[in-house]
Amino acid sequence: MSTASLPDIVFMLLFFFMTVTVMKDVPLKVDNELPNASQVKKLDKKDRIVYIHIGRPNKAYANTWGNEAQIQLNDKIAKVSDIGPFVLEHIEKMPPHIRPLATISLKVDKKANMGILFDVKNELRKVNALKINYTTYGQEEN
């Protein structure tokens, strides 16, 4: 039996996975288990989305940041007041024609409290970033 074509086949598979792989771009410092929902829509293209992570700090950071839910912007734990400048900076970086389409994806841990989310939403309203998305895990309709 000839196995000469085996490397080719494997390479083909390899390239497939290499192209579809999306590496996580930021290490998460907060727990981020999203809730499930069935009535969901796909998010728009990545270039017009600003991510905000909210959740309880990981074990490694619990000593520094405590057990209450915190906000993570990029790779840093941030205060509520940092959200406005952060969002504006990201929108500024986008090409002008997609700025009106900018969406804030809120990745909130399902155990987080609503309080922090209200504060975040208020900050977003202040900088007029009104398109938001409660990002969830999808689920088959039942």
Binding site: V10, L14, V40, K41, K42, K110, K121
Partner: protein, 205 residues
């Protein structure tokens, strides 16, 4: 010339193993990520707050407490019953025929104590600061499901197509521009029949 003929052989036997190793690495690290979620538009901050007067019967008050329990218009409701009570409220069509604001496509029981017209009906979702986000999203999901059910019904009646399908078509990047315009106009018609008026509020007590 003769010397070029014997090119040193490279042993390529381990190539497959290396490729396998890489393949397994990518297989393990890959998460074919599709981000999905519930879209919302936050209200603008109004400079001059004009207080709009809305009839009490046109508001459905949904309250979530810290434990994730629901109160709908003062009555304790289970999570699985929320969708139906939202549908009943939106689809009520209380104003009598012949009057302004009569809803000729509503199939609800035309109760005078519930909403006049879907275009006037507002769902107000109030949650405590300590409500967990998971519970909140479950409720949001049920309310969106209520809207989608009604919108699907109307889309089936008018265009023989589900509203959710229309939205999926619109989001499809491969669709032609011409089709998109058509789909967009259909979506608009349905959204005018059942506009989503959902206000998200916070309570401290």
């Amino acid at each position: 010339m003769g010397k070029r003929a014997d090119v040193p052989k490279v042993n390529a036997g381990s190539m497959a193993d290396i490729a396998f190793l890489l393949l397994i690495f990518f297989l393990v690290t890959t998460s074919i990520e599709t981000d999905v979620g519930i879209d919302r538009l936050l209200p603008k901050i109004e400079k001059d707050t004009t207080i709009a007067t809305v009839k009490q019967k046109n508001i459905l008050r949904v309250l979530i407490n810290e434990e994730g329990e629901l109160l709908v218009d003062g009555i304790v409701v289970q999570m699985h019953a929320l969708k139906q009570s939202a549908i009943d409220f939106l689809d009520n069509g209380g104003s009598p025929s012949g009057e302004m604001g009569h809803c000729n496509y509503c199939m609800g029981n035309k109760s005078l104590d519930s909403s006049d017209n879907p275009t006037k009906a507002i769902i107000s979702l109030t949650s405590h600061r300590k409500t967990s986000y998971g519970d909140y999203i479950t409720v949001q999901n049920e309310l969106v499901a209520a809207y989608n059910t009604l919108r699907n019904r109307e889309a089936q009646r008018l265009f023989k197509q589900d509203y959710t399908q229309l939205e999926a078509d619109f989001a499809n990047p491969n669709a032609l521009q011409l089709q998109k315009e058509e789909v967009k106009s259909k979506i608009k018609i349905i959204q005018e029949l059942f506009p989503m008026k959902l206000s998200e509020l916070e309570t401290n007590n």
